[in-house]
Symmetry: none
Subunit: 203 residues, 4 copies
Amino acid sequence: MNETKQKILDSALDLFSQKGFSAVSIRDICKVVGIKESSVYYHFKNKQAIFNELLQHFETIATALMCQLEQGLMVPLENFEENLFEKICGCFFESYLMDEYCNKIMRLLSIEHLYNDEMQEIYDFWLFDKPLNFQTKVFSVLTKAGIVKTSDSNYLAVKFYAPIFLFMQRWLFCGALTEECKQTFRVNVYRHVNHFFNEMGDK
Amino acid sequence: MNETKQKILDSALDLFSQKGFSAVSIRDICKVVGIKESSVYYHFKNKQAIFNELLQHFETIATALMCQLEQGLMVPLENFEENLFEKICGCFFESYLMDEYCNKIMRLLSIEHLYNDEMQEIYDFWLFDKPLNFQTKVFSVLTKAGIVKTSDSNYLAVKFYAPIFLFMQRWLFCGALTEECKQTFRVNVYRHVNHFFNEMGDK
Amino acid sequence: MNETKQKILDSALDLFSQKGFSAVSIRDICKVVGIKESSVYYHFKNKQAIFNELLQHFETIATALMCQLEQGLMVPLENFEENLFEKICGCFFESYLMDEYCNKIMRLLSIEHLYNDEMQEIYDFWLFDKPLNFQTKVFSVLTKAGIVKTSDSNYLAVKFYAPIFLFMQRWLFCGALTEECKQTFRVNVYRHVNHFFNEMGDK
Amino acid sequence: MNETKQKILDSALDLFSQKGFSAVSIRDICKVVGIKESSVYYHFKNKQAIFNELLQHFETIATALMCQLEQGLMVPLENFEENLFEKICGCFFESYLMDEYCNKIMRLLSIEHLYNDEMQEIYDFWLFDKPLNFQTKVFSVLTKAGIVKTSDSNYLAVKFYAPIFLFMQRWLFCGALTEECKQTFRVNVYRHVNHFFNEMGDK
DNA sequence: GATGAATGAGTGTTCATTCAT
DNA sequence: TATGAATGAACACTCATTCAT
């Protein structure tokens, strides 16, 4: 709605995700937006408030996406697998990990969580607890349906998610998020997912 | 050799690993060491030089450890597996990932690599390329020896290392490195390693 | 007349008398009034203009009160003393020193006069010159009437007013103007006034 | 000892006593001293610390003076009165109220006490409680010695101190402390003191 | 080896004010 | 009448660094 405020948020996220919160000055943001420093304080109480608004927006988006994912688990079994694959790839990879906004926030969290307990919790939630929790549920459903034999859904979730997490750190949360990076990530992830489901089918 | 210089290095690493390079001031370091700020400049050209010396020392240690690990691959096949297990656990986990010095440097790299291309390279080398490369070699040897059937050593390395990497990020590079964290990490890793080798044996 | 303007004046006086002119921001005033900062400039040219209007209003009130007091001196001698006592207490204490508006202005003057020559003059006029002048006149009348023997009306005025001034500073122009403060002030002043007139009667 | 630090203290006191603490900027002080703003922070933790050091020094001086005064009360009765007069004038007027350092601090307190509870207490102590307390003691001794007849030492103290307080506010804590101001103050006070002791002798 | 003293550049923030709407 | 938006000037304070001693 408000143009300047949005520009501030956008520029701030850009810079924060590149250098971290404290390494970016209000001056830096203003230079990009093209306003004077004092103007920032018309739109935000202080520097922290910019960060908070960015984070809050992320949590709204991410929560919505996760809801969508979880609804995928309710789908009738006959087209479960196919639907799941689509959801994980569509929702989780494309709209979440590789979405520009979410990706930048996660880079930012990657920086801040290391010296900020509050960020640590948020980071853990969105990068470890939530995804592992979801995958565990997936494997529970698959086990109940007899598609998967193993009963340790937890460990299965780790085995499934860990390589994806590694590829994320390697290709998604480093340097600029170029199309090349995304592609490398995608190739690696898809190969892993295929391998994984093939092996599962074998047993 | 020089006591004060060593104290500066130690204190700096402590603080850098907790808050990141730029968030730590010369003042902060001096407060811990118990000297005046100007004294730092007798021992180091500038703040960056402290960082460089810390990093260089790490690379010396890490290189030595990696050499030791690689030598484990030359061992005659009869006691290969047993020896390997010991090496990986002893060298890689205890002396590297959980060693106080190395751990601190890696936390520091975790912070810096996100907005510093040079650090990015170093981080990638020590946390992705080097470990994955080594594991690939291990599985190549095991394949040649007929112990492992799969021919894709690369993917095996990923499957083996990714959960360890995830546990590292989750328990080792967050908050303070308490004994509790270490223990949680150890339990998770050892369980994974056991699972992994059991499954490999099954096939 | 104008509601918003009056609210601004009231809130400003409240705040100015508590913290001094320069320590109160337009923001502070607006927060209390419930308007935006730019709106103030519709009603007043600038911050100083608010102050000026408050001061001017005070001078109108105070002048009127002082006129009333001075008229008390014209009263026929038979009920002079009784009438005087009532006037001094009613007009000077209750309607002037302890009246909410006047009290706030005088606190404000107490602050501003210390670093503002113009305020210095106004302060001196209303807190020293005017009251001492009036008391001198009172004692002149009493002397002429033979009620008082001393001829030095000036010094009598000081002896009469000084303790009142001290009590004012002690209880009226400090912290919040609570009923308790007022009462302590009243008790001390009345005791002094009684003592004073008793002693005068003795001689 | 340290020249620059002393200059900062001196200049700060000068400015604070003229405009109040918050109306004086570090820049202002530095302009007078002839140093850069950042240099101030080598000598003082922050702006408040300058104020605190000034106040503390004052309290040391003032306490010493008050001790000296109180020792005057122990003097044998024969030369009590004469000695007292000298002490009050020498110590209290010349070395305290009119001493440059003390005078400036008291002006400063006059400003700050109006919107700062801590300063309020200090102000009350040094300008009301302490002097009135001391005078009460003086009159108690004089009463015991039969020199004074009245038993209400408290009210005597007020009658003695109040005019002095009024003259202080009128001539000492306003504008610049010129020799002219001092002289006017002195004349008024000495006249009062003489009157006072004459009247006391009469009864 | 160490430090007292200083500094220039920079940081986040506040404030009175302006002006088009 | 009121406000959304902006701004220049100021503020207290921090930091890495220098240099004479």
